[in-house]
């Protein structure tokens, strides 16, 4: 094992090692810059003001509560779509569809995942919003509902892809065992395959949520961008504004280093921390299931 390395070998090892650590460096750098530009907001704006319900920066009202509720409302709506459609489609592809159909449909669904969100936002403005306005008889179609529908469409490919992988990874012997015991195909899916793939399906949902809450362009284009506190269920039919859309729409117009600028960075910091929690939880689910699988196999 012990080998004298030439200097070039040593150099290359050092370079490769440094690059290997780059991911950690970048996460820290991103966190650092968000802190650096965002934390001054806490000194410039009172916390009670920051957590108030009025977002009107021109008159120095920096209440981010409406933006948070806007994000939550749109995300919840999107999950109501992504959970049944994402998992349903994954089950169909993995358990019901014949092989040839799966080979066509899975890349197709993943193709939607590769579609730039600005294109979906564009279609949302031109087709979805006018349709919702006429169909539901609303003053405007640019509502939380339009955002939720589009975001559902964005979360579905992520969910389908990962959930299908998880279902596919369930050993064939599980299904054969269930069928041999007299279970129907449906009972096998519902009581054996899905529970066995539970952690993977959960991860798929978590990552779907992560994608949804961070989505910017499509949401900014179709939700109407009204910073109104969304607390009632009927808020889904009115315009809202999310955290991501606020940053994207307003950062271009603020003076660098102003309070407004710091508050927008602070919102970015909040988004960063949310995605951190979502991803750490999602990945720890994966790790746990892996160790369990290893235990079973050994």
């Amino acid at each position: 094992m012990k080998k004298t390395l030439s200097w070039s070998e040593t150099l290359i090892t050092a370079v490769v090692k440094t690059c290997g650590y780059s991911a950690i460096v970048f996460v820290i750098l991103i966190f650092f810059f968000l802190l650096r530009e965002g934390v001054p907001a806490l000194a410039e704006v009172k916390l009670s003001e920051l957590l108030s319900t009025r977002w009107y920066p021109i008159e120095n009202h920096f209440g981010i509560l409406p933006l948070i509720t806007g994000s939550i409302l749109v995300t919840l709506g999107a999950m109501l779509i992504a959970i049944p459609f994402g998992i349903g489609t994954a089950v169909f592809l993995s358990e019901i569809a014949p092989r040839w159909l799966r080979e066509i449909l899975k890349p197709l669904v993943e193709l939607l995942g590769g579609l730039p969100s600005v294109v979906l936002g564009f279609l949302g403005i031109l087709i979805l919003a006018p349709f919702l306005r006429v169909f539901l008889d609303l003053p405007t179609g640019l509502t939380a509902l339009a955002g939720a529908l589009l975001l559902g469409g964005i979360a579905v490919p992520t969910t389908v892809s990962i959930a299908e992988d998880a279902l596919d990874a369930v050993p064939q012997s599980y299904r054969e065992g269930a069928l041999a015991l007299g279970a129907t195909k449906w009972q096998t899916i519902w009581r054996v395959t899905l529970p066995a793939a539970r952690s993977g399906v959960l991860t798929a949902l978590m990552l779907g949520i992560g994608r949804t809450i961070g989505e910017t362009m499509a949401v900014m284009m179709v939700t109407g961008n009204a910073p109104v506190l969304a607390v009632k269920l009927s808020s889904i039919f009115s315009p809202v504004r999310t955290m991501t859309a606020t940053i994207a729409a307003e950062m271009g117009e603020v003076a660098n280093g102003s309070t407004y600028y710091h508050v927008l960075f602070f919102i970015g910091l909040v988004l960063f921390l949310i995605s951190l929690v979502v991803n750490v939880v999602a990945s720890s689910v994966v790790f746990k299931s892996k160790t369990r699988a290893e235990r079973v196999l050994s």
């Binding site: 810059f33 195909k185 449906w186 989505e215 910017t216 284009m221």
Partner: protein, 287 residues
Amino acid sequence: MKRRFAVDRFLIQRLGISLISLVALLTVVPILAVFAYIIGKGAPAFSWQFLTAMPRDGMRAGGILPAIIGTFYLTLGTAVFSVPLGIAAAIYLSEYARENWLTRLIRIAIINLAGIPSVVYGLFGLGLFVLFLKFGTSILSASLTLSIMTLPVIISAAEEALRAVPQSFRTVSISLGGTNWQTIRKIILPEALPGIITGVILGLERAAGETAPILFTGAAFFLPHLPNSPFDATMALPYHLFVISTQVPGMPIQIQYGTALVLIIFVLGMNLTATIIRSRARAKRQW
């Protein structure tokens, strides 16, 4: 009693499977409709002039050349930074790293990078590249921002491709007196190359379609000329589509659909290339 139970569960099975199939159908049909619609609506705008001319009349006429060139530059710039870094990081994880807490930390960092909202990357790029390093609103700043966003995709895909190379290849190379690096460069990398290229293209595809990270780091609303240096701002296809569909009143609908179609062709063309490389490599592979 027994018989009724049997009937019930088969009835449930039929209902359940029909329901799931319906859900899948409802997922797939809109996807097809979206693509068909954009192709159908965008095709009439398509012409040589649309692709190669500068915009005129406040972007309401003429072509979208600067946006196409801009997206090309940004994708290229992203590749320059993220490809070497991403592949090196993947080599480290696959060939050098031991399974310890540091490696686990790297993996968690990669997962987190992949999950950070794109607009937060935009903020970071503004803070670090545009303002702190004073690169200004430029192709350079935007490319660097997109590179960091693309990095986790490239690292994960390249690591997977490297790990797929059988262990025996490494053992044989080392036993013949090859050094660690010789083994990687002459044996492992060539074998893993198609997988790595596929991952790189999929990562760059994401970068090419993104708008939020370049909003404050390098995208220009309108430029009368093509960018001359990496320190110029640039127009870009996704941002241009955003601008002409929300910010410019009286925009001819045909140009909007045409721009959407060009963007989709750009992105899906990359996707298709990646898929073809992958399936070809799989067919040729002998291990």
